[in-house]
Symmetry: C2
Subunit: 489 residues, 2 copies
Amino acid sequence: MPRHVDEIGSFDLETDVLVIGYGCAGAAAALEAARSGARTMLLERAGGPGGSSALSGGEIYLGGGTPIQRACGFTDTPEEMAKFLLAALGPDADDEKIGHYAEHSVAHFEWLTEHGVPFKPSLWDSPSWVPPSDDGLMWMGENSWPYNEIAVPAPRGHRPTAEGFGGRLLMERLAAAVSAARVDARFDSYVTNLVLGADRGVAGVVARRYGAEFTVRARNGVVLTTGGFVDNEEMLALHAPQLVGLGKNSDGADDGRGILMAQAAGAAVKHMSAGQIGISLIPGMIARGMIVNGKGQRFINEDTYPGLVGQAALFRQGMDVWVIIDEQGYEAIPEAERWGVRPTQVADSPGELAELIGLPPSALRSTVEVYNRHAKNGEDPLCHKDSRWLRPLSAPFAAISVAAGMNAPAEGGVESGKGASVFTIGGLRTTVHGAVLDLDGAAIPGLFAAGRATSGLHSWGYVSGTSLGDGTFFGRYAGRAAAGGNGTP
Amino acid sequence: MPRHVDEIGSFDLETDVLVIGYGCAGAAAALEAARSGARTMLLERAGGPGGSSALSGGEIYLGGGTPIQRACGFTDTPEEMAKFLLAALGPDADDEKIGHYAEHSVAHFEWLTEHGVPFKPSLWDSPSWVPPSDDGLMWMGENSWPYNEIAVPAPRGHRPTAEGFGGRLLMERLAAAVSAARVDARFDSYVTNLVLGADRGVAGVVARRYGAEFTVRARNGVVLTTGGFVDNEEMLALHAPQLVGLGKNSDGADDGRGILMAQAAGAAVKHMSAGQIGISLIPGMIARGMIVNGKGQRFINEDTYPGLVGQAALFRQGMDVWVIIDEQGYEAIPEAERWGVRPTQVADSPGELAELIGLPPSALRSTVEVYNRHAKNGEDPLCHKDSRWLRPLSAPFAAISVAAGMNAPAEGGVESGKGASVFTIGGLRTTVHGAVLDLDGAAIPGLFAAGRATSGLHSWGYVSGTSLGDGTFFGRYAGRAAAGGNGTP
């Protein structure tokens, strides 16, 4: 529960803008608040910067004609980018946030490079979670059905120049920029309560460091960039029960604390049951084969962004899914893209394979038969997979259990044994400028938020790069707004 | 936002227990509070009792060996009833609430009959939303896969003795009982704010009647039985966007006001994206034919409870679904069960039918072929429909658009033109005894709730009878607890 200024007496510390949480959103908020001339303090519960952002793949969703897109030969516009995001992050994605995000995406690219984040002008051109390369650009489903009919396709996944997972590099560069700016960053500092002023606005916080309580007054505003709630089992059960029991993409500290503190101060939340589902499969395997449900049916074009496959598999098929591929398809996948995943069952026919894995044989037989009949002509009337990936499957056939999992080649990646690694994408209801709204839709004075503590661009859909993307983008807006500006950097 | 006692001065009215909302949960809470000896007041915004309960089908989910079950030749136990509910209302249904509900279900049946609600000892034995008869008992999917393997099947849908929709009779009888009890029921009275006492507990309310504000002190407790939030478009968009744009099963006043007032006083909510989906189709038609998705695939055993078909169709297939039946199946359905629904397209083969309605022809052809091959042997390895409904389909084939809708033969029933009529099943987080919990899981003093203002037995699944069921059952508990007892009637 929040405390009140009357109880606090005098605060131990004072600042203009206080940012809580030092992942990518917190770094962006602190940088922009400091740039606005505000005295800025950043409290982080861990011993150093990074948070879950540093463990991520590092992709940032950017477009509208960035230098990297242009260097790779793609034209793009904010309008086409917004059309894609509205479709892929929906239904009911935040069109106002998406509009701002797309319109200022090139400027945000420039901001990132100014702060030292490097991107290489080369394209990775195949479905993947995290390519085994340092290519700076990748597709996030823009060239897959139905998105290729909704918006002019352009790749918009921008990757910091690292082999594989780039989140650590991103956070190293942002943290170096924070260090160079006038930001008072304090670690091992866990915020326990917001402090409300006489106007019910947020006036500061109570925190703990090595067991000792201290208070901080924030003259202008508090920015919550505390992450999501995938590590809070009770919140998951209350709001996103389908995510319970799956692996977690987090640094272990995404306990929803910031969301709860804001709610206790009257804040509203939004889309709390939504999640990103990093399903435990190799995108190149389903693109070359198929994914089927427990009835042996295909349910999605397998060449789309794998997170969308994961959401369909969990929310629509209850994660009762199998990867089916033939030997020729499996062998075509370079070793570096296999992440050690091997067939779990092999058989000479779809019917026999179905028997082995407990699917209705006549159904899987018919699924492969219909697939092959059309694949021969480069067509997929059922799911609209691109002809590039279509070829009749032939014996021997293999099945791969998604539940058996896989091991990502880097820390924090898609991992093993539970079918998927997930994080939450619902959270506090905020304006474009990061003001936290109460149950009546009015801004709570002095309280701002960004990143996965908020409901951002998304409602239900998700593509990689939109969390680091909206975290840094709206983190900047929130930092600027908390400093007293109009929010727009 | 809540008001504070200090601002109120002296209250206009005083009572021991104040119940807000006069549907089935409010009636049950008021009756039990009054029976406990508490002075009880009931405020209802409409001009008379009933709420959405009065517009419903009237089914009440009861079992464990009720006199009606026994008279129809069924044995049942609380254990089997609980097993079914845990499976059908899950995943993550409230096992503590379900345990109480099943254990005391026969006693709740007796309470209802004591209060004048009649049930006839005869069974309606076919899938239906609301049977065109006054039979007192019906199946709610207990005899369908997988529930018939999870729990010993027994029908538990108890229907007040009315031809068709029984909600009005139920509420007439409960309202008559409330009138006979010492309950001060006041109509046209819209509660606008909770009033908090010095201990942050709820001390009363502010309300309006014909534009004039008045205040009520509740010495022992306030019970919120204000219904769900299907009529609040903003709350739907924030929490249950998949329900936006569908028809509404409500009296038009399910605006989530009670949930919001409690949240503003610190209450937590649970499972806010869940909903009952009254899909616009005739259960007897899909049982005799099939329901397919936009890929021409079956996705559920069509003889299960139709609300579960509706949830699968909306949440898993995006409501992109079609009813497929042959002439023989259609003709076998009695006129009274058709609710005026007629084929929208007819063709001589599944492939031609698919062309007409825009499905992939090879897929629907293969679906019907696999279905027929097994139906001949009375088997359905894909979806496990009971052999009673299995028969190879033959030309001519018909399609029925779910989006085209239908008209229920009674007011407030499943209606037309939007694919489904829905209501919300998430809400306030409460204990078994109706205490409203805050974000830390602690009870808010003086605040109780029941019915669709709360998350009840359910998490995501739903079967008919569990709303009137948990509303009346936990309404009784909440009324008793608010009166100062231990909650258990």
